[in-house]
C-alpha cells in the first residue's frame, strides 16, 4: 500500500510539468497581453516595453516557463495585471470555490445516493420511473438554464434568497448555487447508484445475508451499499476536480468570486501568471482527488489490495 502511494505520487510529477507547460504555451499563443492593458489606445512603446519587462514577457517562452516554475517552488506565483500577487488571488478564490464544491458534493452524496438506493430497490415502480424521468430532464437541461431559472424564481419572483452571493460567500448563500452546480452530476450519481444497487441486489452474498435472517436495513447498508458504491465513489472523486474547474458558469451567474471567476478574468485579460497558477493548483487537486479515490477502493472492498 505504501509503495503504491509513493508510485502514484511520483507519477504526478510528469503530469504536473506536462500540464503546466501546455497551459503556458496555450496562453502564450494568444499573443501579447500588454496591448490589452492600455484600453482602446495604443500603449506608448516605452511603457509597453517596461510593462513587458515587469511581467517577464520580453523573454523567450521556454525561459519564461523555467523562471516561472523556479518561482512556483518557492510559493511565488507571480503578479496579476492589477498589481496583486496571484497567491493572494488564490487565497481569496480557492476557499470560496472549495466551499461551493463541498456543498455540491454534499448534495450529490445525500440526494444522489438516497434516490439511487430508493429507485434501485424499487425497479420498475412509479418512483423509479419518476426519478429516472427527472434525472433525464436534469441532464438534458444546461446548467446555465437551471441556474438562471432558479435565480429568477427564488431570487426575484419569490424573494426567498438573494440572487447574488456576497463577497463573503457564506455556506447558506451557497446552497442554491451548490445545488445548481451539483445538478447534472447528481443525476448521474442517482443513475449510477441505481444500476449498481439493482445489479448487486441479485448477487449471491445479498441472498445469503437475507437467508441468514439479517434485518433488511443491515443488508442494504452494510452489504449491498458498500459493494455498490465503488463506481459511485470513482465518479464523485473525479467530479471534485471537474466541479472546481467547471464552476465558471455557476460562479458567473451567482456572482461568486471563486476560481472560475479568476480563471475567466485571467483568460480574457490573457494574464499568463493568473491562468497558469490557478490551473496548476487545479491539476494538483485533481490528481490528489484521484489518488484518494483509489485508496478508498481498498477501504470499500478489502479484496482490492495494492502491491
Amino acid at each position: 500500500m505504501g509503495r503504491y502511494v509513493i508510485r502514484r505520487l511520483l507519477q504526478m510529477i510528469p503530469v504536473f510539468f506536462g500540464a503546466t507547460l501546455l497551459i503556458f504555451l496555450m496562453v502564450n499563443v494568444m499573443g501579447d497581453p500588454i496591448q490589452g492593458l492600455c484600453g482602446q489606445r495604443q500603449c506608448d512603446p516605452a511603457t509597453a516595453a517596461r510593462l513587458r519587462q515587469e511581467f517577464g514577457l520580453d523573454k523567450p517562452v521556454w525561459q519564461q516557463y523555467l523562471t516561472y516554475m523556479g518561482h512556483v517552488f518557492t510559493g511565488d506565483f507571480g503578479t496579476a495585471f492589477n498589481g496583486q500577487p496571484v497567491i493572494e488571488l488564490m487565497a481569496d478564490a480557492f476557499p470560496v470555490t472549495l466551499r461551493l464544491t463541498l456543498v455540491a458534493i454534499f448534495f450529490e452524496i445525500v440526494i444522489g445516493i438516497t434516490l439511487g438506493v430508493l429507485t434501485g430497490l424499487r425497479r420498475g415502480r412509479p418512483v423509479d420511473t419518476g426519478v429516472l424521468l427527472l434525472t433525464l430532464v436534469v441532464i438534458s437541461v444546461p446548467t446555465f438554464v437551471t441556474g438562471l431559472l432558479l435565480q429568477f424564481l427564488l431570487g426575484v419572483e419569490w424573494g426567498i434568497v438573494k440572487p447574488a452571493v456576497s463577497p463573503a460567500a457564506t455556506l447558506d448563500e451557497l446552497i442554491v448555487p451548490g445545488l445548481v452546480l451539483a445538478s447534472v452530476s447528481l443525476a448521474y450519481v442517482t443513475r449510477l447508484t441505481r444500476t449498481s444497487i439493482a445489479e448487486n441486489a441479485r448477487a449471491d452474498y445479498v441472498r445469503t445475508a437475507r437467508a441468514k435472517g439479517l434485518p433488511r436495513r443491515r443488508v442494504v447498508t452494510r452489504h449491498l451499499l458498500r459493494n455498490s458504491l465503488i463506481p459511485v465513489v470513482t465518479f464523485i472523486g473525479a467530479d471534485i476536480g471537474a466541479l472546481m474547474g467547471g464552476a465558471i458558469v455557476t460562479e458567473r451567474i451567482f456572482n461568486i468570486h471563486g476560481v472560475g471567476y479568476q480563471l475567466y478574468q485571467g483568460i480574457v485579460r490573457q494574464n499568463t501568471q493568473t491562468v497558469v497558477g490557478f490551473v496548476t493548483v487545479l491539476v494538483l487537486i485533481f490528481l490528489l482527488a484521484n489518488l484518494l479515490v483509489d485508496l478508498l477502493y481498498a477501504v470499500l472492498d478489502p479484496r482490492i489490495r495494492y502491491a
Partner: protein, 526 residues
C-alpha cells in the same frame, strides 16, 4: 483601534446596506488604482469619488470648471501660471499644495513608474527626458514644471495648446499626498485622496466601501453617507440583484434586458449620450486601401450602412446614428455638429453602389470587418453592417465579419499593422474637448491613429487650432479639420454610444456624467 470598532459597528447591521449608503455595481479594475495608471471606466469611478483636480467637468454640461484651481493664467498659450485654492486637504489631514500636483505629475510622467496614462503629460516640456520613446530616462522631473510658492506653480508646454487647462479635469492630473510616495504599497491597498469620499475598506476584486468625508472642503459634498461598490461577474446578475432589491444602482444594463427595462424599472432607467463614438477605421498601410480614389470608395461604404435601423433593432436606441466625428456631449459650442457629415452619413444604397464603383470597387471584390468577439455585442452589429453593405452592392459576400478571440489579441494585430480591411474602432473621450476626438485619432502618427491615416491639410489645421488663443476660434478651426476628414472619409463614423443605468426606488437624483459614470455624490437615499 477606534477605526476598527467603527467599521465593526457599521457593518453589524445584519448584512444589509448601512443607513444612507448607496450600493452600486462595479467591475474589477484591470490596472492598479492610482490616478496616472487608471485608464478604464471601473477604476475611473473610484478616482472620481476620491479625487478632485484643478478642474472638474460639470456632470451635466461637461464643461471644465475650476475646482482646486483659483486661477490658471497664460499670455502665450505655452506658459501657464497656476494658483491652487487655499483650504483643501487630503483625507489624512495633509494640505493640498502646489507641490502635491507637481510631485504627482512628475511621478505620472516618469517612465520608471510604468504609468499607463503617462502620455497625458506629453505636452509638458521635458517629457521626452523623463519618458523617452526608447532607452532610459535622463531626468526624473519635468523641466516644464516649477513650484513658485506654496500654492503656485508654472507649467511650460513644448507647443502652443490654448485649451490645455481644460484637459486638467482628467483623473491623471489629480494631486497626490506624501503618503503615496512614502508607502506606495499601503497607499494602493487603501488609496487616500482629496475628494468627497474616503476609502473605508477595499477587498480587491470584490468590493470597495467608500464613506463620505465630514471635513470635505469642496462645494460638491456627497448627499449620501457613502457608496458600496460591489464587483459583479456578469452585468445580468447585477441587473437581477437590482430587480430583487439587493442593489441600488446598475450602470450597465445588459443588452438582453433592454426590451423589458421600461417595464422592470418604470421611470428609473437612464439612457443618455456619453462621449463615446464607434467608427470603422481603414488600414492605410495597405496599398489596396490607400488609392487615389479611395475617398469615394469609403464614402460609398459609409452611405451603404443603414445606421438608423441598426441602432434601433440591435441596440434598442442606446446608440445614436453619428452625424460627425465627435460627440453630442460637447454641445454645439464645444464643436459638435449635427450637420457636418451630411449626406456622407445618410443611407442611400443606389448612391453607395455608384460611389463604390467610381472608387474602384472593394479591393479584391471582398472585404472583412475585424472586431474582438470577447466583449460587447460587436458580432451583432458587424454582421448587420456587412449585411447593409452587401444589400446595397447587391452582392451576397462582399463583406463578412472577422472575429478575433480576445481584445488583447485584437489590439495586437492592430498595433502590428496586420489589418487587411476595415476594423472596429471605438473612442471614449479623455476630456470633453473637440481636440480629443480628432488629434489623438487622425493626426499623422498620433497615439491612437490605428489606421495610420495621414493628411497634410488636416495636420496643418489641427496645429493652427491648438495655437488659437480664442477658444471659439479654436473650435471652428478644429471643425475645418474635421471637414477634411469628412471629404477624405478617413474613418467611417457609425454611432454615438449612450450610457445606460437603472436604479432602485430607494435612491433618487441619479444621473450619468458625459463619461457615462454615475454622479455618485449627488445621489440621495430615502
Amino acid at each position: 483601534m477606534a477605526a476598527l470598532l467603527l467599521t465593526a459597528t457599521a457593518c453589524g447591521g445584519g448584512g444589509g446596506t448601512a443607513q444612507g449608503v448607496v450600493s452600486a455595481s462595479w467591475g474589477d479594475p484591470a490596472n492598479p488604482l492610482e490616478p496616472a495608471n487608471t485608464n478604464e471606466v471601473q477604476g475611473g469611478k473610484v478616482m472620481d469619488m476620491i479625487f478632485r483636480g484643478l478642474k472638474r467637468y460639470d456632470p451635466r454640461t461637461g464643461r471644465a470648471q475650476d475646482m482646486l484651481a483659483e486661477r490658471i493664467e497664460t499670455t502665450d498659450s505655452t506658459t501657464f501660471a497656476v494658483t491652487v485654492r487655499d483650504g483643501w486637504t487630503f483625507s489624512n489631514g495633509e494640505k493640498v499644495t502646489a507641490r502635491s500636483f507637481v510631485d504627482a505629475w512628475n511621478y505620472g510622467a516618469d517612465l520608471r513608474n510604468n504609468q499607463r496614462n503617462a502620455y497625458f503629460f506629453g505636452y509638458i516640456e521635458g517629457y521626452d527626458k523623463v519618458h523617452p520613446d526608447s532607452g532610459e530616462p535622463t531626468a526624473t522631473t519635468l523641466s516644464g514644471l516649477t513650484v513658485t510658492g506654496e500654492r503656485t506653480f508654472t507649467v511650460r508646454l513644448s507647443q502652443k495648446f490654448s485649451t490645455w487647462p481644460d484637459t486638467l479635469g482628467y483623473a491623471a492630473f489629480a494631486p497626490l499626498p506624501r503618503a503615496f510616495f512614502d508607502d506606495h504599497a499601503a497607499w494602493l491597498k487603501k488609496p487616500i485622496g482629496n475628494g468627497p469620499y474616503t476609502v473605508d475598506s477595499y477587498a480587491r476584486g470584490s468590493a470597495m466601501s467608500l464613506r463620505t468625508r465630514d471635513d470635505y472642503p469642496g462645494p460638491d459634498r456627497a448627499r449620501n453617507s457613502g457608496v458600496d461598490l460591489i464587483v459583479y461577474t456578469d452585468n445580468n446578475t447585477a441587473y437581477t440583484a437590482l430587480l430583487s432589491g439587493n442593489l441600488d444602482l446598475v450602470d450597465d444594463v445588459p443588452a438582453a434586458q433592454l426590451r423589458n427595462v421600461h417595464k422592470d424599472l418604470p421611470g428609473r432607467y437612464i439612457n443618455t449620450p456619453a462621449g463615446i463614438i464607434q467608427t470603422l477605421a481603414f488600414p492605410y498601410y495597405d496599398p489596396a486601401w490607400n488609392t487615389p480614389d479611395g475617398a469615394k470608395l469609403r464614402t460609398g461604404l459609409s452611405r451603404a450602412i443603414d445606421r438608423a435601423q441598426i441602432t434601433q433593432t440591435i441596440f434598442r436606441d442606446t446608440r445614436t446614428p453619428a452625424k460627425d466625428w465627435t460627440s453630442p456631449v460637447l454641445g454645439t459650442d464645444g464643436g459638435f455638429s449635427p450637420t457636418l457629415c451630411g449626406d456622407a452619413c445618410v443611407h442611400d444604397p443606389a448612391e453607395a453602389r455608384r460611389l463604390v464603383a467610381e472608387g474602384g470597387g472593394i479591393p479584391g471584390g471582398r472585404m472583412t470587418i475585424t472586431y474582438n468577439a470577447d466583449t460587447g455585442s460587436h458580432k451583432e452589429w458587424v454582421d448587420a453592417v456587412c449585411n447593409s453593405i452587401n444589400n446595397a452592392l447587391g452582392q451576397d459576400s462582399a463583406c463578412v465579419g472577422n472575429p478575433v478571440g480576445t481584445f488583447a489579441d485584437f489590439r495586437n494585430q492592430i498595433t502590428q499593422s496586420k489589418m487587411s480591411g476595415p476594423f472596429r474602432a471605438g473612442w471614449q473621450m479623455d476630456y470633453p474637448l473637440i481636440q480629443n476626438f480628432l488629434q489623438p485619432l487622425y493626426y499623422t502618427n498620433a497615439s491612437s491613429n490605428d489606421g495610420k491615416w495621414s493628411n497634410k491639410d488636416f495636420d496643418r489645421l489641427v496645429d493652427q487650432a491648438n495655437a488659437e488663443s480664442d477658444p471659439q476660434a479654436a473650435v471652428r478651426t478644429f471643425q475645418q479639420a474635421e471637414g477634411v476628414l469628412r471629404d477624405q472619409m478617413g474613418a467611417i463614423p457609425l454611432w454615438y454610444q449612450n450610457g445606460s443605468a437603472g436604479y432602485s426606488p430607494r435612491v433618487s437624483h441619479v444621473a450619468l456624467n458625459p463619461f457615462s459614470v454615475p454622479v455618485y455624490n449627488e445621489i440621495t437615499v430615502s
